[in-house]
Subunit: 353 residues, 2 copies
DNA sequence: GTTAGCACTCTCAACCTTCAAGTGCTAACG
DNA sequence: CGTTAGCACTTGAAGGTTGAGAGTGCTAAC
């Protein structure tokens, strides 16, 4: 069976209406509020057909229809209408980003907060983690007991530190020496090339071979986001949405957000594909849990990854609002960071709209 | 009215029973299960009297009695019986701590996880933050745009970093120069004395005055724990306890744990007073929210603060279990860290038991 | 001081009724 | 053939009633 235009129109009405009201949608309100000129009986026929196609479900015979996950996906792909932010929302974004004094950590937090406040959903964010990031400084500090602390600072000011094992025989002076050598070797290198640089230099390091191995291992872990890089804002906002009157849904939600590992996994894995990604849980072994939806955007400016930001919430989510907010925050962010001019990527994206 | 021994005994029974069953306690079960030789009518008289004293409340006439916050406090002070951990629990602790390879961050996380797993409550932890910590390394890195990154590494391997403003006129070489001066000045100093050292050296710094100011400001913030220092484990464990079938309690709980600031404040403020602290919310403007209880222990070994760890959960908490776990974790932790010998503090504590 | 006995209160679950909402189906219409 | 009016049917939500069970407070007797 093909989807007629009227079916699409009706499906769009159902999704819109349900997103707004959180109440199953009946044929009557569709016909009366949105589709004058057609009777509710006709709408009922169409609804029955849409149900057969898998787009709608009903809890019980007299309960109106509710969109299925499949319907949401279709809605986002084809039916959804883009909106614009209100003046006050735009002002809010601008004001929030006007304070340029903070570091990245601070920026990530405020972006996350802005998104959560404007959308009224829980916001998840993961800071920039870019393999092409240049190493700005690398220092090795002796800790005694055959261990040393490796501190790496990159161009976008992300600080990474980890402990590596070193030969017990190394004195503090040896460590300092090694530190100098390492700093010289890696300074200005991108994280992506650093590993190969390290491998190549292994031979030179002679007795410090073990140290270099440790550094290389540490570098490997740096391209993956860590727990600490995941920022979560407005977890209590979920209670503003009626689906979370049900304790089961709250459990589900809390089990997701209490594991930052899991969040990082969910957000991270399509990091460099597209701009905005929507993931809807359908329950059958999906990574995103049932009754849960995750909308994220990955931002970039001047070819530099600026991190991934988004919201997590019920499937019945105001996608128009969320996506609009994400787009506007993205624009503001790109302006803020790459204020000097726009690169090709961004131009392409703007034409798409 | 004075508390007779029998009243105390009965109060203890009520609290124990309620903690175990989560069901209001009736005079009948007290008399039959715990106080043979006395009739339920007698118990009823005592219960009525205990209610008058403010230790018990009842939701409705025929609903049995429930301990008041005041009763819990009294219970913990005087009535509670110390327990011992099971073999398997002790094994679990030992196994969890046997891996010594990780850094502090890692240690904090595993301690927190152990506590959460053994108690079945949500665990909160805050890493060591000790004013007497010695500065091991201090480096200033230029970031351009009149800003620099200050990295401070302390003895117990806590890494602190923050951005400070510097005069736009400073070149990279100037920054390096300043970094060397600062490192020399602060190396080996405790955080507590560092501030005064900085103040005294202000004059010497001449044109770098602003830099030194920034460093001093940064040092000030280091004694307070930051958001990132608060670790939360097992948030979803609350659903194992019947009070959180009620959505209102979940809201309450989530609003606390979603703000790490607030947690830090709650945990941090009696940091150096006593070993184990129990805070019970009573609702009247208390810092700890109503229906919420916070049990924390501050650990130390060799005079060094090892952080504060504990659990947050419903008032009806298994205090015996929680406190026993906290004590045993503390012992294990002290052994692990200060394996070379026990200092006076710890000996004192062990005698108290 | 302790106890048995009893009236009283309150909740909880089960059950019924009513009500409104919304559907599916059928037969008629253009 | 698509559309529509009409109507029977289903279902859940809300409200009321009832009986059982639990637990108490009180009183009078020991």
């Amino acid at each position: 069976m093909k989807m007629s235009d009227r079916k699409k129109k009706i499906l769009q009405i159902v999704v819109d209406e349900y997103i707004n009201s959180a109440v199953p949608v009946s044929s009557k309100v569709i016909a009366e509020k949105h589709l004058q000129g057609v009777s509710s009986a006709t709408v009922r026929n169409e609804l029955a057909s849409l149900e057969e196609l898998g787009y709608l479900t009903q809890f019980h015979t007299s309960g109106g229809r509710v969109p299925s996950p499949q319907a949401y996906r279709f809605y986002i792909e084809e039916l959804m209408q883009r909106g614009n932010l209100s003046e006050s929302d735009l002002d809010y974004i601008e004001k929030a980003f006007s304070d340029r004094s903070g570091d990245v950590e601070h920026l990530i937090k405020s972006v996350s907060k802005v998104i959560s406040d404007l959308t009224d959903y829980t916001s998840v964010a993961i800071g920039p983690h870019d393999d092409e990031e240049k190493i700005r400084n690398l220092t090795l500090l002796s800790c005694g007991e055959g261990r040393a602390l490796l501190v790496i600072v990159t161009g976008s000011r992300i600080l990474r530190d980890s402990f590596i094992d070193i030969p017990e025989s190394m004195t503090d002076a040896d460590v300092e020496n090694a530190s100098r050598m390492l700093a010289k070797l890696f300074d200005g290198k991108a994280l992506s090339e650093a590993r190969t640089v390290g491998e190549e230099a292994l031979a030179e390091f002679g007795q410090y071979r073990q140290v270099m191995r440790g550094v290389i291992d540490a570098l490997k872990t740096y391209t993956r986001p860590r727990d600490e890089d995941v920022v979560l804002t407005g977890a209590d906002k979920i209670f503003n949405h009626p689906e979370y009157e049900d304790i089961e849904n709250v459990k589900n939600f809390l089990s997701v957000i209490s594991s930052k590992d899991k969040i990082a996994e969910l957000i991270g894995d399509d990091n460099d594909e597209i701009q905005i990604s929507v993931k809807i849980g359908s329950g059958d072994g999906d990574e995103v849990p049932e009754d849960c939806s995750l909308v994220t955007a990955t931002y970039a400016a001047g070819g530099k990854n600026l991190g991934t930001y988004g919201v997590i919430g019920p499937i019945r989510m105001d996608y128009t609002k969320v996506i609009t907010v994400l787009e506007n925050v993205g624009k503001a962010l790109e302006e803020l960071v790459g204020s000097r001019g726009k690169d090709k990527d961004e131009k392409d994206r703007q034409q798409d709209e």
